[in-house]
Symmetry: C2
Subunit: 194 residues, 2 copies
DNA sequence: TCGCAATACTTGATAGTGTCAAGTCGTGGC
DNA sequence: GCCACGACTTGACACTATCAAGTATTGCGA
């Protein structure tokens, strides 16, 4: 149960971002909350942007896990819907991570090879899922288009729900799930036709 | 050509956000660049968040214009593709605005009735376009699902291109347009079936 | 057991930030 | 003439990231 300061700080940062967004995040406040001096966190994360990088890294790893995993292969459509559901579920359950992962200005993932790799892996996971959905007959270009469409749809849904106006328009969780399902199902019909 | 300070400040802020993202935006720096005291901008925008609100307001107005406008009504698919193209084009051409518009933590649009109205109008514009696409026979619920799907797809594409990893994966503008077109076309096939 | 180097912090100082609270200065209207 | 008001300045405060230097503690090789 003894948590290292590094873990404490990271956790507090993620919590803050989930609740307030990344903008006002203060190293000093986090340090004060943890009962250490204002420079203590700085020792573990050399830089303010370094902590965002770390959050993104953690996020991409979690993301890959959440997206992949055993999926019954009944039919194409089912995969698409599952993918969307998982994407949105992940974003909601991990707001703090999700909000950082796709903000290039916060965490320049290019600077950290590890984070870059995690991000690439996450994308590959998505590509694999889409490939499975499309089938072997499809060309690489088709898969690329399909994957982008799939990704965009899920990503758009997730961001609009988390930070955008969709949050208010669909209050209850049951509504949200139903909407995501309907939307994904509708889109899947188009995606199926290779 | 004489620009009021208010206009100057707003313009500088939008430019900054487009280039660096909203996080590091500094009132004082903008004031210094404009050659005025550090409190001068504060006189026009009572608050740091007020300027983001103003940017969002401007953005939603521009957005409505960009999205609507005359569209040849040949077939459903065409409307969907156009909508996506316009959405993405707007986001790229107005990065500074777009980045702010959908960040609830920056500009609480709920606080400003004017901005709220502009945002609602923008959504209505989108809904109208989708209604046209779907046809009169569709139920309200179907339109709602369709609109959400459409919106999510376009929004996801735009954000992934602007801030996300898609930016690197598609370098040239021609590639981008082709990709957006393909993706939208593919999705449209699913959306068409009421 | 001594020393020593690395680790995990603390303390202090600097520059930059938003924001409150007072000025100043010119212009239009009574 | 004056006076009120808008546009701006000046000064101060609390807060922030970050640099630089100090101090414990701990593990380890001689």
């Amino acid at each position: 149960m003894t948590q290292t300061l590094r873990e404490k700080v990271l956790k507090a940062a993620v919590k803050y971002v989930a609740e307030n967004g990344p903008d006002g995040l203060s190293f000093r406040q986090i340090a004060a909350d943890a009962g250490v001096s204002h420079q203590a966190p700085y020792h573990h994360f050399g830089d303010r942007s370094a902590i965002f990088n770390e959050i993104a890294l953690e996020g991409f790893k979690k993301f890959s896990e959440a997206i992949s995993g055993p999926a019954r292969v009944d039919e194409d459509r089912e995969i698409c819907v599952r993918l969307c559901e998982r994407y949105v579920d992940f974003a909601i359950a991990n707001k703090g991570h999700f909000r950082v992962m796709f903000r290039a200005d916060l965490c320049q993932i290019g600077e950290s090879p590890e984070t870059q790799k995690a991000a690439d892996d996450a994308f590959d996971t998505l590509l694999d899922a889409v490939s499975e959905m499309v089938g072997d007959s499809a060309s690489i270009d088709q898969i690329r288009v399909q994957a982008t469409a799939m990704w965009s749809l899920a990503h758009g849904l997730a961001t609009l729900i988390i930070d955008g106006p969709l949050e208010k328009k669909i209050g209850k969780v049951s509504d949200r799930r139903a909407l995501v399902r309907s939307v994904a199902q509708r889109a899947a019909e188009g995606f199926r036709r290779g």
